[in-house]
Structures are given as structure tokens and as C-alpha cells.
């Protein structure tokens, strides 16, 4: 079981809510994925609208909402957006996303740390989206975040775990859950992240943009489960060569 803040999750697959062709398909896919934590962009939420409100598809008991601050460019905007999200969605959980670069949507480490320090004081359960930077993860941990969300590769790129070496260091060092976010393009990527010991993964584009989002959601559910089981069962280390003889030490027996 995975515990973040005061919540226990039986599913280690977290999901996004963007890019789907309609709300009904989104809901069906997310239910199928087994996901219990779904992130939703504050900028897409329209509390005044009754028709086609993204939230109306996310009211199932299975889902906990994780509002995100996508669109903000600095700590000041993020803090304001966080407070607005807390009020609009009635949760103090927050995916802290500060990407001032609208092209590759890469997170700003300086502003993210600054915002995390402030928001922790205000009682938010913070899950920051960041580069796979082990030192930054430790600094955020000290600031009081509930988990860290390092990226596997650029968001929406489907390129898999390009940051693998750094993710392994983060997982080794972290005292808070590590959720690999962004870039996971295939169930095998998700399984790999789980095999190296990530606590969870967050997937959006690969499910939403697939030709069959519902089937793809299920594929991810199974991959995350398989990867976690393999991690817990302790994977055997791969070797490049068979080790039949001991050319360097066999002399000892001849002495």
C-alpha cells in the first residue's frame, strides 16, 4: 500500500485528465485504469458552468482530485492559483507545476522550491513536478512536500525513462514517495519505472491520445501492477556474460 499524506492508495497508477476526446471516454478510461488520484488543471475548471464541466466526469468515489497549477510562470502565481484551487475543488492536495517555458513545459526548479516552502507553511499536501534532479528532491523534501514527481522525459513526449540514472538516485535517497511523471509513453515504460522502485507513476498523454483509451488504461493498470510485483519480488541482476571459470583467482587453489 502506498501512503501519501494521510491517504492510502491501492493503485500506484495516477492519471491526467487532458487531451481526451470527450468526458465520457475520459471517465471510462480512468475508471478502467484503477487510478485513485487524478490531476486536473485549474485552468480547465469552470465552476460557473454546468454543462460539460470536466469535474462532472470526475465525481466517482474512486477518484481523489489533484488540482494542478499548469499555466503559472512563477512562485507568486503558483501560490495564488493553489489557494484558488483549494477553494474551488475543496482539497488541499496540489500538484505544483511551474513551467515558465510554454514550449517544452519544463519545470522551473528555483520557483518550484520557493513556492513549495510557502505552500507547506499554508498546509498544502504538495506533489511537485520537477526535473529528475536528486539534490532538488532532497531540498523539496526538507521544505515539506508529500512526494516528489520527477520527469521521465519531456512532458507529452512519450519517450520513456530518459532520466533513468537520475531517477535511480532519487529513489535510493528519497524519504518521501517518488512518482515518475511525464514522458511515460508505453506500459513497458511504466513497468520499468515500477521495477526500479518508483512508488507510483503518472500517465496522461499515452492513454488519452491512444486510439482506444479504455484498453490502454487497462494495459497501464496491469503494467504498473506487474512492475511493482517484480520490484517487491526482487529482480535478479542482469549479467552480460556467463561466469563459468575464475581466471583471475583459480591460482589460489593451486598454491
Amino acid at each position: 500500500m502506498l501512503k501519501i499524506g494521510d491517504k492510502i492508495f491501492s493503485s500506484r497508477l495516477f492519471t491526467g485528465t487532458g487531451k481526451f476526446s470527450n468526458g465520457a471516454i475520459m471517465k471510462e478510461a480512468l475508471l478502467k485504469s484503477g487510478s485513485e488520484l487524478v490531476t486536473v488543471a485549474l485552468k480547465r475548471v469552470d465552476p460557473g458552468s454546468t454543462e460539460d464541466n470536466i469535474l462532472s466526469y470526475l465525481n466517482d468515489a474512486q477518484f481523489n482530485l489533484l488540482p494542478n497549477t499548469s499555466g503559472v510562470r512563477n512562485a507568486k502565481e503558483a501560490i495564488f492559483a493553489a489557494e484558488l484551487a483549494r477553494e474551488a475543488l475543496e482539497t488541499n492536495w496540489l500538484k505544483l507545476e511551474i513551467h515558465p517555458d510554454p514550449k517544452y513545459l519544463l519545470p522551473d526548479p528555483v520557483e518550484t522550491l520557493k513556492a513549495a516552502e510557502e505552500l507547506a507553511k499554508k498546509g498544502f499536501v504538495i506533489l511537485p513536478y520537477i526535473h529528475a534532479d536528486p539534490v532538488l528532491c532532497k531540498r523539496l523534501e526538507e521544505a515539506g512536500v508529500a512526494a516528489v514527481m520527477p520527469l521521465g522525459s519531456p512532458i507529452g513526449s512519450n519517450k520513456g525513462l530518459k532520466t533513468l540514472d537520475f531517477l535511480e538516485i532519487i529513489i535510493e535517497q528519497s524519504q518521501v514517495p517518488v512518482i515518475v511523471d511525464a514522458g511515460i509513453g508505453a506500459p513497458s515504460d511504466a513497468a520499468k519505472a515500477m521495477e526500479i522502485g518508483a512508488d507510483a507513476v503518472l500517465v496522461n498523454t499515452a492513454i488519452a491520445v491512444s486510439e482506444n483509451p479504455v484498453a490502454m488504461a487497462e494495459a497501464f493498470r496491469m503494467a504498473v501492477k506487474a512492475g511493482r510485483m517484480a520490484f517487491e519480488a526482487k529482480l535478479a541482476k542482469p549479467f552480460d556474460h556467463a561466469t563459468a571459470s575464475s581466471p583471475l583467482t583459480s591460482f589460489i587453489d593451486e598454491l
Binding site: 487532458g18 487531451k19 481526451f20 476526446s21 470527450n22 475548471v45 499555466g71 502565481e77 510554454p102 513526449s157
Partner: protein
């Protein structure tokens, strides 16, 4: 270095020649690599790319879905004024066109807002001619005060302004500015803009630089197809885009594709751009730049719009009026240009859903804009 200085290092004829000399091999190289440069863009918009249109469309479709998902953002223009001190040979609002002039009063703006909100819109584009005395920064501030509380995303398509003027409007909740160069062919630009402040080519071409310095969230670029060779003009637009992305890296960009449409006292296009060529260009932009927003207005036909939403377009309007007061106050007054696709937002929504796309009405929140400065 401002874009004007970059621009001065290129020669129109040389660029045009380079584009026309691109070969099938150049096109194939551009199609099969993962990051494309301006040379690749040239190949993709060249005549040599014509036989590769289907392949380009398939790539564009995939790249667009990867980045933007199965969604189309919806916006609508609100014309605030048709007063104009410029003569532009192709425009219905041109000073020498004897049409009734109108600038919306605060009361009229409010009734237009009511009508537009009733159509379901939350992203709005404000449009005027250029009449600095009556429709200048003070007027825009007043209009924004009425409009920004009602809409999540406010864009402006008006005369180019100074940096400090943009800063003031951003403080009033402005998110995006569209400023089309019309043509990057300097001599031709002067022919089409003989009178008024708009005749200053350099001031216009440096407008995106001033916007970038002012810290605007999004800048829209484009040229008016029909004035000059569309391929050469599009190369310069792409050059401009690439320059801006590197320099003002916190700003988002969009491209529009206005083709010259008939209007009151109109100009016949000097250079025709066929439907096939417009599709080629849309796909070329997407393959060149996976992140740029591509927008298509109601200038284009019903059938064309239905088909290109899959090929790279990320935002569109519906139910638009191009006359000030056209929604609630003066539905019968003269339009800037003829609307081709007359369908209502509800009809466009139904069409998008049939094709497996979600119309997105809100994809911004005013808190991001108001707080930035």
C-alpha cells in the same frame, strides 16, 4: 538583436529562389528527421513537397494529437470599432471606403458581452481598425475593464502599440496579442499600405519584440495570403517565430492563416493560394514546430474547416461577426470581410464531436494574467 536586424540579413528573392530549388530529397530528409530546422521548413513548403502531402498530413495529425490531444480550443472575435485612419488596399475598414463608422460604447460592449457569453464562449478576441485618437490605449483600458471579468482569456487584434502601452493593457488582464505582418515583402507592403501609421513597415515588424519585452503571455503571427508569394512570406513568418521563441522563451505563440476574402470595394488577390497549398502549409508548420498553436477562422469554408481540424489546427472560431456590434447592436452593418463558414457554435460543436474531438471553451484562468505583473 531585434528581429528587424535579423530580417535585414535576408533577401526576398534569394529566399524565394531557395524554396523553389528544394528537391524531393530535401523533402524526404525533412520528413524523416526528428527535429526540423528552417531549411527543412523551406523544403516542406516548396513545390517539391506537393507529392508528399498525404505523408505530411499523417505526420501533422499524429504530432498535433500528441501535443494537444483530441481537443480544439474555441474563441470568438468581438469587433469594437471599424474606425480607421489607414488605407489598406485589401480591407473593408480602409479609410477610403465610404462606409458608416462605429465604435462601441460601454453600454453596447456590455450587450455584446451578454450575447457572446450566451453562445458559450470564454475566450474572446477583441478587434478594431486603427484610430488612435478615439480607439487608443484609453479606450482599450475601458473595454478591458468591462470584458476581463467576464472572460477567462482575452486577446487583442488592433494597431501595434508601444511597449509601455502593452504593459498597461497586460495589467488590465490582456493575455494575447495578434499582429499580422500582412507581408514581409517590404516594397509590396508599402504599396498595400500607402497611408496611415500602418505604412511604417519597421514599426510593425518590431511589434512582437515590443510584446515580448512587455512580457505578454501569447503572441499571434501571420501574413495575409494573396498579397505576395505565400511560400516566401511563410518562410519569414517561421523565421520570426523561431527568433521569438528563442528570445522571449516564456511566451507562447500561435499562427493564423488568413486568406484574402472578398469585402466592400475589394482587391483581387495578386497570388492565389489553393486549398491544397493551404493544407500543405498547415502541415508544414506542425512538422516544423510541434508546439505552436495553429488557428483557423470562419473565413474558410465549412468543408475545408471540417477536414483540416485533423491536420494540425488547434483553435477555431464559430458564429463570428466581423462588424462592430454585429452580435447584439447592429447585426446588419458592413463586415470587414465575408464570413464563409456561417455555422453556429452548437453546429461546430456537434461536428467536432462527430469527429472525435472535444471543444474546449476554457483553457486559461484570469488569475494567471492579472497576477503576472
Amino acid at each position: 538583436m531585434s528581429f528587424l536586424e535579423v530580417f535585414k540579413t535576408y533577401r526576398w528573392d534569394q529566399v524565394k529562389n531557395d524554396i523553389h530549388r528544394k528537391t524531393f530529397e530535401d523533402v524526404e530528409r525533412a520528413l524523416y528527421k526528428s527535429h526540423r530546422n528552417l531549411q527543412d521548413f523551406m523544403a516542406l513548403i516548396s513545390p517539391a513537397a506537393a507529392p508528399y502531402l498525404e505523408q505530411m498530413a499523417q505526420q501533422s495529425h499524429q504530432l498535433t494529437q500528441k501535443r494537444f490531444g483530441k481537443t480544439i480550443q474555441m474563441y470568438i472575435p468581438m469587433y469594437l470599432s471599424n474606425e480607421c485612419q489607414n488605407i489598406c488596399t485589401y480591407c473593408g475598414f480602409s479609410l477610403d471606403n465610404k462606409i458608416p463608422r462605429r465604435t462601441l460604447s460601454e453600454k453596447e460592449i456590455l450587450s455584446e458581452i451578454g450575447h457572446i457569453k450566451g453562445m458559450g464562449y470564454d475566450h474572446i478576441l477583441l478587434v478594431t481598425g486603427e484610430a488612435n485618437k478615439t480607439v487608443g490605449v484609453d479606450y482599450f483600458k475601458k473595454a478591458l475593464k468591462l470584458i476581463t471579468p467576464e472572460f477567462s482569456h482575452v486577446a487583442l487584434e488592433v494597431q501595434p502599440l508601444d511597449q509601455h502601452e502593452y504593459e498597461a493593457l497586460i495589467d488590465h488582464g490582456l493575455n494575447t496579442v495578434l499582429v499580422y505582418q500582412e507581408t514581409y515583402h517590404e516594397e509590396d507592403y508599402k504599396k498595400h499600405h500607402p497611408k496611415g501609421k500602418k505604412s511604417n513597415f519597421n514599426y510593425r515588424i518590431e511589434t512582437p519584440d515590443r510584446l515580448g519585452k512587455a512580457g505578454i503571455h501569447k503572441i499571434g503571427l501571420g501574413v495575409l495570403f494573396g498579397l505576395e508569394d505565400w511560400r516566401t512570406d511563410s518562410f519569414f513568418t517561421a523565421l520570426h517565430l523561431q527568433y521569438l521563441e528563442k528570445k522571449y522563451w516564456q511566451t507562447k505563440y500561435s499562427i493564423s492563416f488568413p486568406r484574402l476574402r472578398p469585402h466592400t470595394g475589394g482587391l483581387t488577390p495578386k497570388v492565389e493560394m489553393t486549398d491544397r497549398e493551404l493544407v500543405q502549409l498547415i502541415c508544414a508548420y506542425r512538422i516544423f514546430n510541434e508546439e505552436v498553436e495553429l488557428s483557423l477562422s470562419t473565413r474558410e469554408s465549412h468543408k475545408f474547416r471540417d477536414n483540416v481540424i485533423k491536420l494540425g489546427i488547434t483553435s477555431m472560431s464559430a458564429g463570428s461577426k466581423t462588424n462592430p456590434g454585429g452580435y447584439a447592436n447592429a447585426p446588419d452593418s458592413l463586415e470587414q470581410f465575408e464570413i464563409d463558414d456561417q455555422r453556429s457554435p452548437a453546429e461546430i460543436t456537434a461536428m467536432l464531436r462527430r469527429q472525435g474531438y472535444e471543444p474546449v471553451w476554457k483553457d486559461w484562468d484570469k488569475v494567471f494574467t492579472v497576477l503576472s505583473f
